[in-house]
Symmetry: D4
Subunit: 252 residues, 8 copies
């Protein structure tokens, strides 16, 4: 079907919500402003056409079995890694979207679905990791999970982390964002029963510049129960966490 | 408490089953045969001392809340990356353990617990990835999940993969083992709703030697929903999958 | 012969069309505007001198046997990786050249030769790969092949690719541009009989930044029939595809 | 169909000859002797079952359009990177296969098909590159092309290369194998009209050890018309060359 | 002076004890058995010649000011990274040296000097790090410090580390040996006031193989107070720790 | 305790001076101006609240034994890697702090504590290393040590170094900053008895760009007695040197 | 002696001309404008003080034996890698220096010494390498050699190189600058008797970006007689060539 | 001419002595024993045929101009990197060749030519570098230079180096072999007027393993006048040194 295909530019994966339980997101930072604008316009057109079906049909309702859904829901649409110029281009077409500058994320609709499943906690090692952490949190929230953010519990001051362990143990999945040495996910994974999504960030300098050292550390962690995503990929971390927490009991 | 501490050699983390819901595993390949033997002997001693408590107390029962468990269960003990010499040293002390040579894994008790939670499928791209895949499958099974192995569905012949999609969609978590280009996890993740644990293997030569290319590809995958573990870390992949599938409904 | 040698600056390889069947291209991005301008001026001078011989003599006509051609044809002249400043400097001397900003390419004459040989299809994984893809397509077209561009068929949504397979099977050579995980060339090569030219792009971030991961994946692809070019080298990919498709039957 | 699927071990891609014009090859060096033996046995079984259909049906006849072929031909079967132990295991099941120890390749049937298409020349820089070069040559020959090998024309003694240029210009495709600095493909590509398949080898020491430097050089070559394959991937180079030369006129 | 110079083979740095407060050590693993033997023989000759002066003159007594010492003491001579063959060659000339196989170290005289200065504690993350840890401990001890070894307190089970903090706080310098993710030095440095010498080990596999990941993590540690030495350089770590602890008050 | 925790932004480690003998420093360059400003404001608030306790209580007085200190001293607060914008934001809250632009460091109080312990000398190889060297010197001084800076004694002109050896031998610890080949720390360590802290800098180009070559050289130095810190980590180098020199006798 | 030492900033190596036969050069690009200015001012002061001795005393006259020279000659002073700002700062103090913007080099005095020794030819592969090539040529000329520059003879068009071989064979030393694949030095070294100084440049993109591939190729070259310098180190290449050509007979 | 071409195996570059002033050498370690044997046999055949012309015609006599020489001299033939098996195969055909096991080099004739040109000194940092150093020395000697070897003057004990400076200043070219940190060439180059050939060796462990760190350090050296060769390439270093010293006055 021709919906979602724009000239020689883009083919939206409108089937993804049915197939995967979460719709496609648009990665903005390697696209031109004009390309991003054209994609937002197409989504606006699709939303206008599908409006009656879209509300009341949470994308998350599409399960592994999700046969027979029709028409495709236009549930949470996410635009990731959007700088202010790209955000403005999107908001011109989707004026009621949410724009979180720190997370560089836009979400439509602005209101996340009512949360279901287990709690996703996003913890970060330092203040500088907040951008990626916030992207992860918003992604998980707009994919339908209850979320919480815990900032600045890096391992140089272990007490800050130990103080938060009871809270961390409430989560069905913990995303841990860290740059520099990237050691925090291993320490947390060793203390809790829930899976950890390790999110290396590009925060650092010298041999830690760009986040490769953090990524290597996280892959090498001696505690099992850790899955690593790409450096600064807060969206991927939040998406995976939302999937992991899907079936878990909600927070007390 | 002195249980599990051997002179200046090792301090077993006997609290881990209570804290994490799965006990510590012993990584054998960087330990000497004598070191491995001493550790197996200590476990044998602990098993002898704790036998009445161990049966009937599935390790997996220890949840995030799992307060008040006592005494610590000696549930599934795993020895990983064990070559035949180290395996023999272990079996001398734990003669009724399971020894899977392809997976280089020993499990005590030999019988896995009755499966609970969602199905874990381990898929591998090629015949050469079977060792790591089997390590992942056995780990998930001995941590209490129902498991299945699907071999040789690499992307060079896409039909082999498409034929298995219905099966893959039954899983609560899919571990995907691949060497060479490491592209299989992305393709599978894009087609299913469950999370994917990507397991790079050291299978390959030239620029793919050692598995680093596969690991990079998996971290860079453009489909969200993938968590990557270290190269050849079948144990870690299986452990994470068992955690992820814990709360999911079982297979039909 | 002194034609094409400018002071201590450049020695044009005017013999290349006779020797290789395709003329030299000028890589602009590491040259100063003044250097690019001087080269364009020399070409303008040569064109003025050679005009009667140049039209009607398609560069592609020079085959491996191409002995006795005289004088050297000034067939399609390409300027690659040209930013707007360099493009302006070139157009000042060659005002009727084609300037494609997305491909950063200038071609003189603006009109490509009448197409001969097999169809070259350029496929790209995402919208962000369009620049390199377009450079490849224009190069192949100006070297004399029929071409087509297929955008945004990345493997995260396999159906988009499967829908296009019949079209891809019409090609005598397929150029596949991809950044991030770079897995698309392997998937396509496994499904078609024609050779694939894999074109890694620098699209990506984290461990995929700069395109090295994509290049490694493409070199490691488990499907044979793939030749890889340098990252973002759309010109090289299009050139190689034009050579490969030279002898194949044209599209139906 | 169940043909070609062995327990949980392997799924042969028997459709490949129809789909791609060349059948699957079996990479031996990361498989155990037992695995290789089981695969050879399955092929022997398939050959016995299909013998009437196999002769007279050259695998190469399957073109991009190749619709309606039935049943699948069991044309040239290749086993690559086979050491003497694996070769012996294969020959036990396929006793009339060809075994070339230098190329580490087995081919069944031993006799290549009658050559069609353009000439494939395999050139190598030094004596030490002969193994990979020979693997490339045998692959192209068993996929149906006329082939020739030119040894030891490295660029340290340019005259040796210049002497062979007329011969190299007869080829429809030239595979160039080189280790150390890997510069030979660029020099040759700059002198001929046919495409070059660059085959880096692991020959070298110091910064050239393992072939990565050669691969980087080949990707960076300033002459267009080069497609690079993985280090030591003689099979992939020969396969690609056979595809490229398919439509070209045969040697005089 | 000609003492310590052997033909064209070696020039012993006999002045080092006076200049640096600790004598030269002989790195064995890149020397042939014959070379090691010749060096041991020269030391035996020097010991025989200097015996009256050597006893009673602790090498450590040579301070930054250490003017006027004469003649140079032949205090603790260390041979590092010695396998059994090289050890045997040394013991043939210095039969009363100490040979510690796990540390691959020989020390002459076998008895360390009476300890002075602050306590050096060597902690290691896992059982597999014991070789490097033991080399560090013996080096510090033979350079004159009181020492202690704490094994297997990796961060996957934080309690094991927290239990030992009071002990670690007694040290004037802590050497921390770790492979895999190499995160232990940062965690310890964040909890104590004494400097930490971080000793990465080559224990690990996948991206942690060879110890580079551990070294990078240690250099990137977000807690200050860490100095890193080369991978597996237990000798260097112990030497630095002995220097650091020189002026500190001794253990209670 | 709630002091030092700001909303979801930062958790100051106010216990560090008691625990480690030196307070936390704030790394500015990966934080936004607003984040830095909020942290400085919180410190200003704490200083205002704690003023009576802060003066007269040198942070350095907190030793390994330092039990029972109360309340926590607000001794030297350091802000590192601060550009002019961030510095201005800090000075707005802490107007009497010291701002050293070359070192990119702010210190409060501006006046360092009265020096105790051994002399810390910071030596640098070239003029371009002065920024990192100065950061190290100021850090050591504000943590309570006597310090001195020796500039431009790189090994290309050995005499410049030899002239300064008597001075270098006065130090209880020498920090050596070098970029390019990073060879200076080894040369100095080989000539003195005190420990050397090697500080690689990002000064250099080509293969030395970014400082990785310098870091590798320093880790590989054949003279023992060297601890390496991260590239450009002048703060870490100065902190470690201050810890090392703590117990040494002061300069004559 | 205090000449050449400026506060805590720089220690000029004024003895170098006597010791090495060529004076120190000032690397500008990692120094601030103020630092460069201070150094130029000190040189201006030294020149003013030494003027009577400086003219007529070519620096090159100071040979290995050059004992007894007094006072030190202030022969050719070079400032390398100087951008326009730094150049202006230098020219403010040394207004009659030569400033070559393409080479980013300043030389005082502007007039090179009368040439002695063998001819130094600087050849470069492409137009983009001219900056580094020109830096090498000017350095060799100001250190006293006759020089010549040959541009744009890259190996993609071998004839351009073969045409220049007679000229290249006149040289006592050839500097070869190349980026991208860096193959030119090997080709030239294989054809001439004089030593080759290989100068990798940062010209290139993709895997050739930054010049590392060119450097690796040059180190791996299969023709002996090549010494490699750092990427873009035209000064080092020219200096080495001047030393090599010192004793050779001059050009005919 | 057919001399020197063996079937499809090798094409000897017999013209090299005339063209380059030094004949081709045979790199043995990546060739099979049979290949090496065939090459040695061909040389033996050529020697037998050419004997009358060979004596009295030193290869080195062929200068850059060396026109009109006939027939080609079979001067010093070198076989490099030959293990005992390959050496035995060579000696079977050339029984009077010299075999130096430490250098892994064979030379025919065994007697080097009478030395001409300047002195080549080969210095090495440690005992472990002697193999590469000896290969360099023998190569330079058999190409006609006077040579000397200075062992074990690494920079950890600077006095050992300073003691030898007068000797080093006698050389027309100094080859400096070093592994580990590779800092020795810079220190030596800074003290002498002659060019330095830097020879990194693979001696080392940890981050220095394989010699890459040494190579990087040598390329980054801040003293000009250094040309670097590949790791362990003693032959290349000796060849380059022989070329450099060709025109220099001989030792006193």
């Amino acid at each position: 079907m021709a919906d979602g295909r724009i000239d020689g530019l883009v083919t939206l994966d409108l089937d993804r919500a049915r197939r995967r339980g979460a719709p496609e997101a648009v990665l903005c930072d390697s696209k031109s402003v004009a390309q991003v604008s054209a994609i937002a316009a197409e989504y606006a057109r699709l939303i206008a056409a599908a409006t009656p079906a879209a509300d009341g049909a949470p994308a998350d309702g599409a399960g592994p079995d999700g046969a027979g859904r029709s028409p495709a829901p236009l549930g949470p649409i996410l635009f990731t890694r959007a700088d202010p110029d790209r955000a403005a281009a999107i908001l011109a077409h989707l004026p009621d979207a949410l724009w979180d500058e720190e997370a560089r994320l836009l979400a439509w609709p602005a209101e996340p679905p009512a949360p279901t499943g287990g709690l996703v906690i996003v913890a970060c090692a330092g203040t500088s990791d907040l951008g990626a952490a916030r992207e992860a949190e918003l992604t998980a929230r707009h994919l339908g999970r209850p979320t919480r953010l815990i900032a600045d519990i890096g391992i140089a001051g272990l007490q800050r982390l130990l103080d938060r362990l009871p809270e961390l143990r409430e989560a069905a999945c913990v995303v841990v964002a860290a740059g520099m040495d990237g050691a925090l996910p291993t320490v947390i994974a060793g203390q809790i029963a829930a899976p950890v999504v390790a999110l290396p960030t590009s925060v650092g300098y010298g041999v830690a510049a760009g986040g490769v050292t953090a990524a290597l550390t996280m892959l090498s962690g001696c505690a099992p129960g850790i899955g690593v995503v790409n450096i600064d990929n807060g969206y991927g971390a939040g998406h995976l966490a939302a999937q992991i927490a899907r079936w878990a009991p909600g927070p007390a």
